[in-house]
């Protein structure tokens, strides 16, 4: 996947799964403070990422994710 494809897919997933307006899904947006997600959402985000992007995410690595850019980078690494 190109970075553009990853950004589009992750943003669509975040919009559909967590009802976050598309305009708020910017690389610098922080998941917990700005996008109002919490630890319960993070677990569900992991499941969405794995199922919709066909990747396997290490839960410990997910804990280090802070921003949308971190999510894009994580997916890019795992998707190869």
């Amino acid at each position: 996947m190109t970075r553009g494809e990853i950004v589009a897919k992750v943003n669509a997933l975040m919009h559909e799964g967590f009802e976050i307006p598309m305009e708020k899904l910017k690389p610098e947006a922080t998941l917990f403070d700005e996008l109002k997600l919490d630890s319960l959402d993070a677990v569900d985000m992991l499941v969405h990422l794995e199922e919709k992007l066909q990747i396997k995410v290490d839960a410990e690595r997910l804990q280090a994710v802070r921003t949308m850019e971190d999510v894009y980078t994580l997916v890019a690494d795992l998707a190869g």
């Binding site: 319960l40 959402d41 569900d44």
Partner: protein, 411 residues
């Protein structure tokens, strides 16, 4: 201590809210429709059900909705209607106001969400373990899911109690709410129950030959309490919630009472898991009258549990005859609503209040030819305009559960 019903909320197969619910009852409508998609389930013979029409849940923030199954959503919407009607929103501890531990929640369901349970276990078995399970799933299937989700969504900080006794759940919740208020420890109890339609609910009754099988092509005629041609119940879904409040609290807040919850009783026959027990029915009816400080002669309407099973309707009709003779008009609302399981007791209590308020008696739908074994009581077969003062409502459930409550009109 006098207990008043100061708010009511209903989500039923007849519509959204108490207004649509009662208009549907008066119009003699039913929410039961054919479920041809259930034919795929091997061994299931009842292909009928009644579901709540489409509703809007977006008024609840996503952070609260994410842990709700359909039954919790129904309960939240019904509770919102009930608390708004009781003038509890905003500023009295709900919806952003400052809450108080003197308001208790007592809401139950038959089980956690069957739809979510199916999804959870299907995935668990397919994957051989918990891989891929959502973090929010458990909160939809835990036994107190309905009560906990209502509390979280609406901001209650008092006790959250989640009774569960299948088909008598919400009646039990209301009666225990009445008992809680008798202690003087609480001002208000928000009580009721909810369940969601799922084929496994039909299967539970189908397996023990208690679900309707012979009317799959005629859903309108399927649920027929006390009728000679009845062949079992039809499952449905919904939520019924009432705001129970002490007279002192209602007066202090200046809120209108719809009716008095005069008393109620819950007993177990401790005899059989599925068979109805006439002796226990007699006992619970008498006990509820005693707690309401009324005699059988005072009752002007009897709302029967009667789900259209062969045995249950017969036992209940005979119990009514033993206690009330043929003097009291009797009807069941299962012909309209189907059997909404954990919601039915509260929905039927709300219907009793509306009948008291509007001086009207709702007949048993589809009761065309009274089964001789259900005879000897005053069956309502047509809508009647009639003023009355006290109504009694019974509910029974697997596990030997027997409940009876009495509501009284104001003035």
């Amino acid at each position: 201590m006098k207990v008043h019903i100061t708010g009511m909320g209903a989500m039923s197969s007849l519509g959204l809210g108490v207004g649509e619910f009662f208009e549907g009852l008066k119009a003699g409508r039913t929410g039961i429709t054919a479920r041809p998609e259930w034919k795929q389930y091997v061994g299931l013979h009842s292909h009928l059900g009644a579901s709540v029409p489409a509703y809007d849940i977006t008024q609840i923030p996503r952070s609260a909705r994410r842990t709700m199954s359909r039954m919790s959503e129904l309960a939240v919407v019904a509770t919102l209607e009930a608390v708004r009607g009781a003038d509890l929103l905003p500023g009295h501890g709900i919806g952003g106001g400052k809450s108080t531990p003197r308001i208790a929640i007592c809401l139950g369901s038959t089980s956690g969400s069957p739809d979510t349970l199916e999804t959870y276990f299907r995935k668990l078995i397919e994957r051989g373990g918990p891989e891929g399970q959502m973090g929010t799933t458990f909160f939809k299937v835990m036994n107190h899911s309905v009560a906990a989700n209502v509390a979280a969504a609406l901001g209650f900080v008092g006790p959250v109690i989640a009774p569960s006794s299948a088909c008598s759940t919400s009646a039990q919740a209301i009666i225990h709410g009445w008992e809680l208020l008798q202690t003087g420890l609480y001002d208000i109890v928000i009580a009721g129950g909810a369940d969601e339609l799922h084929y496994t609910s039909a299967a539970v009754f189908d397996v023990v030959l208690a679900a309707s099988r012979g009317f799959n092509d005629r859903p309108d005629e399927a649920s027929r309490p006390f009728d000679s041609r009845r062949d079992g119940l039809v499952v449905s879904e919904g939520a019924g919630v009432v705001v129970l409040e002490t007279e002192a609290s209602a007066r202090a807040r200046g809120v209108r009472s719809h009716a008095e919850l005069a008393g109620g009783a819950v007993i177990c026959d401790a005899n059989h898991m599925s068979q109805p027990n006439g002796e226990a029915m007699d006992t619970v009816m008498r006990l509820s009258l005693e707690r309401a400080r009324l005699q059988a002669e005072d009752i002007g309407y009897f709302n029967a549990h009667a789900t259209a099973t062969v045995q249950g309707d017969r036992e209940e009709a005979q119990a009514v005859r033993r206690i009330f003779g043929d003097r009291v008009p009797v009807s069941s609302l299962k012909g309209h609503l189907g059997h909404s399981l954990a919601a039915c007791g509260a929905l039927e209590a709300i219907a009793c209040v509306k009948m008291l308020e509007e001086s009207v008696l709702i007949p048993t739908r589809n009761l065309q030819e009274i089964d001789p074994e259900c005879a000897g009581i005053q069956h309502l077969q047509a809508l009647e305009k009639r003023s009355f003062r006290h109504a009694i409502s019974t509910n029974f459930a697997f596990g030997g559960m027997n409940t009876s409550l009495v509501v009284s009109g104001i003035n």
